[in-house]
């Protein structure tokens, strides 16, 4: 349905987006995962027809949209990272204005406003000024505004940045419903691994402007299929013990966090005997041992050597 081909954006000496090719099929929910500064927002701006690429193409149903962006804009609903609303107007007034820009009027406009407000759970507070809403509520209206013209594709650029857990859950649940119940195609950009993992069928991982991995969640995790993650919780912090354990033969990566230690080891490594032996030597009490399947965070760590939020 929507694809980018070798999309590149250069700003003077910096290459913000480098040869990025993405595909969104109808009804899919696709994640664009990467740390801050990876080039996600620039890529989104080019896909949304708001920024001209230095090279490459953006196609909707096989047709380039760079010269004639009208059709692309008609089917797209874009939720920018910023709150793109008039703070001095109420949610209702904002939605009415944006609805009228899309040619809605009369009953049709009122019904659409009611629908999107219901969708984001703000129907009972629609008359309040946007500036008086919490950050989470503002983000929900931001989504509602992008939904006014019944778009087929929803592009969201970090829509949950800086909001409370309750609003975040509400927003994620709304997006999941739009995708699964209404068949809306979603491109979801985030540096929160757990959001992408929860919402998306396929994921593109970006770093330094490039796509460094792509596939379904399972395919990406299969990168780490020959490894497993062991999370060990102790009764307190034992720096010397943690150092000793990270030196056990076969440990590929060790990350200490307060009372716990995370070890990535090849599958089949016999770790437990050595672990309990060393713990007894240092007088440490092992509270919990958890062998985990790899997460996308682990995949990113493996691919880049950095955490997503570094």
């Amino acid at each position: 349905m929507l694809e980018t081909q070798q999309l590149t954006k250069k700003f003077k000496d910096t290459i913000a987006v480098d040869d990025v090719s993405l595909v969104l099929r109808q009804g899919e929910s696709v994640g664009l995962l990467g740390p801050n500064g990876a080039g996600k927002s620039t890529a989104i701006a080019m896909i949304s027809t708001l920024m001209k690429p230095s090279s490459g193409d953006v196609k909707l149903n096989g047709k380039s949209v760079l010269k004639k962006p009208g059709e692309m804009r008609r089917v797209l609903g874009v939720v920018p990272q910023k709150i793109a609303l008039y703070e001095e107007l109420s949610a209702y007034e904002n939605l009415k204005f944006f609805g009228r820009l899309y040619g809605l009027s009369g009953n049709e406009l009122e019904q659409r406003i009611d629908y999107v407000l219901e969708l984001v759970g703000l129907a009972d507070r629609k008359k309040e000024l946007v500036k008086n809403y919490s950050g989470g509520m503002q983000r929900r209206v931001n989504l509602a505004a992008a939904m006014m013209h019944e778009p087929e594709v929803l592009i969201m650029d970090e829509p949950t940045v800086g909001i409370d857990p309750q609003s975040r859950n509400h927003l994620l649940e709304t997006i999941r419903k739009l995708n699964q119940d209404e068949g809306m195609t979603v491109l979801y950009t985030s540096h929160y691994m757990e959001e992408v993992e929860k919402l998306c069928d396929r994921v593109y991982i970006m770093d330094h402007g490039k796509v460094i991995a792509e596939g379904t969640k399972e395919e990406l995790k299969a990168i780490l299929s020959d490894q497993e993650t062991v999370l060990i919780d102790f009764d307190q912090n034992y720096p010397e013990l943690f150092t000793k354990l990270s030196e056990i033969e076969g440990v590929q990566q060790a990350t200490a966090e307060e009372h716990s230690l995370k070890l990535i080891i090849p599958k089949g490594t016999r770790l437990l005997a050595a672990l309990f032996h060393e713990a007894e030597r240092y007088g440490a009490q092992v509270v919990n041992v958890n062998v985990q399947t790899p997460t996308l965070e682990d995949v990113f760590l493996r691919l880049t050597g950095r955490k997503l939020r570094d």
């Binding site: 701006a45 708001l50 804009r73 793109a84 008039y86 001095e88 107007l89 944006f98 820009l101 992008a146």
Partner: protein, 419 residues
């Protein structure tokens, strides 16, 4: 278009600080300036009344007689001798000055009292007089020699005032300047024809004061109105900048509306706001300060025509500022405009004070600013409600508006993004 207009006007109505700048502040300034300077503009001369001490250090009669004897001994033909002697008597500058200050046209304004130098100085120190005019020894003779024979040395007046910056001082200076111009003119005439009547020349002063005066409330209602409409331009450009920063502008672009619709809506919103602003300022000024006759339809029709042209012109100015703001992606343009350019335009446009004494170039520039040309149109209409009087200033406003609009269209980033 309707959606844009409603939105822009709603945003303005909810922005109290902008409303204060656009409506409350000009009204407050009209009240303050109108009341404090009403004596200067209204023809009520109480605020400008002054007591003047006149010190004559020479003997005028003796100087005239001495000059007449000299003319007698020059051996000129009898007719010419007679004419010069008569001119010496009738064109004596001291007599002319006293006649001027005691003239009926100035009697409400000036009270003159002859004193010795010491008395005059003491009175000035005690502030029982506002000014001292001294005619030094030899003034009459030097002036008459300069007038009749073209000798280079001319008489010089001395003026001492209690307060250099007072309106009375300004008025007195202008009276004396007029006197000096008259004496110079008289000198030329005397040299050419040998005689001239002084009173005919003094008629010039009467001409200046013969006009129906503009009151301070009228002056400052118009002055402040044409100044504060300019702030609408920066308000609208400021809004556009905020829309761009908050990515609302991107949302508008994504709606597939023609980019020029956005620009024209900004211009029309500005023109609409200016129309409301002018209606309120003129209306309140007429109702509360009786600045204008409230029941004259003909008068208000002229005011409406000027206001509409001015509003459209400010709309074009706002469009230009929006275009530059969006092109530069910066709020510098509205900030610089409201922070300094408006004051400059108001000054050269004559919003603060009449530009009569200003250099010709400054007045010419002022006449080509929308506010200056509008001010000129309003005053012309106020003094003489003839439509023909408005053609010049309104044409200037229209020309400037078209230039603003063309520049706005050239600068506006209508191709932003992939489109």
């Amino acid at each position: 278009m309707g959606a844009f207009l409603i939105k822009d006007i709603m945003l303005l109505l909810r922005d109290r600080s902008e409303l204060l700048i656009l409506l409350a502040m000009p009204f407050l300034l009209i009240a303050i300036l109108g009341f404090s300077l009403r004596g200067i503009f209204s023809g009520d001369l109480e605020a400008l009344e002054m007591d003047i001490a006149l010190v004559s250090q020479g003997d005028e009669a003796q100087a005239v007689a001495s000059l007449q004897n000299e003319i007698e001994e020059m051996g000129l033909p009898p007719g010419e001798t007679q004419a010069l002697k008569q001119a010496a008597e009738s064109a004596s500058p001291q007599t002319m000055l006293v006649s001027l200050l005691e003239d009926e046209s100035l009697s409400e304004l000036v009270t003159i009292e002859r004193m010795s130098r010491a008395e005059a100085q003491e009175s000035l120190d005690e502030e029982t007089v506002d000014a001292v005019i001294t005619l030094p020894q030899g003034f009459t003779e030097d002036s008459l020699r300069n007038m009749l024979f073209g000798e280079s040395k001319s008489g010089e007046l001395e003026l001492l005032v209690a307060d250099l910056s007072s309106p009375q001082t300004d008025v007195l200076k202008s009276i004396l300047n007029e006197f000096v111009r008259t004496v110079n003119f008289e000198a030329s005439i005397s040299r050419l024809s040998g005689q001239q009547s002084a009173t005919e020349v003094f008629g010039g002063i009467e001409t200046i004061t013969a006009r129906q005066p503009i009151t301070s409330f009228q002056y400052y209602t118009i002055g402040m109105a044409v100044m504060f409409v300019l702030f609408v331009g920066s308000t609208i450009a400021g809004q556009a900048n905020l829309e761009q920063k908050q990515m609302v502008f991107d949302r508008i672009r994504l709606s597939n509306r023609p980019p020029l619709l956005y620009l024209s809506s900004k211009a029309i919103a500005a023109a609409a706001i200016v129309s409301v602003q002018l209606t309120l300022l003129f209306g309140l000024s007429a109702l509360l300060f009786q600045a204008f006759a409230a029941d004259s339809w003909a008068f208000w029709s002229g005011i409406a025509i000027i206001s509409i042209v001015l509003a459209l012109s400010v709309g074009c100015l706002a469009a230009l500022m929006v275009a530059i703001t969006l092109r530069l992606e910066s709020d510098a343009v509205p900030a610089i405009f409201s922070g300094g350019v408006i004051s400059l335009m108001a000054f050269v446009g004559g919003s603060f004070m009449p530009l009569d004494g200003m250099p010709e170039m400054l007045r010419a520039i002022g006449n080509w600013t929308p506010n200056g040309a509008a001010l000129s149109a309003y005053f012309s209409w106020l003094l003489e409600p003839e439509l023909g009087q408005l053609t010049g200033p309104l044409l200037r406003i229209a020309v400037v508006a078209v230039i603003f609009l063309l520049l706005a269209l050239a600068i506006f980033p209508r191709k932003g993004g992939a489109a």
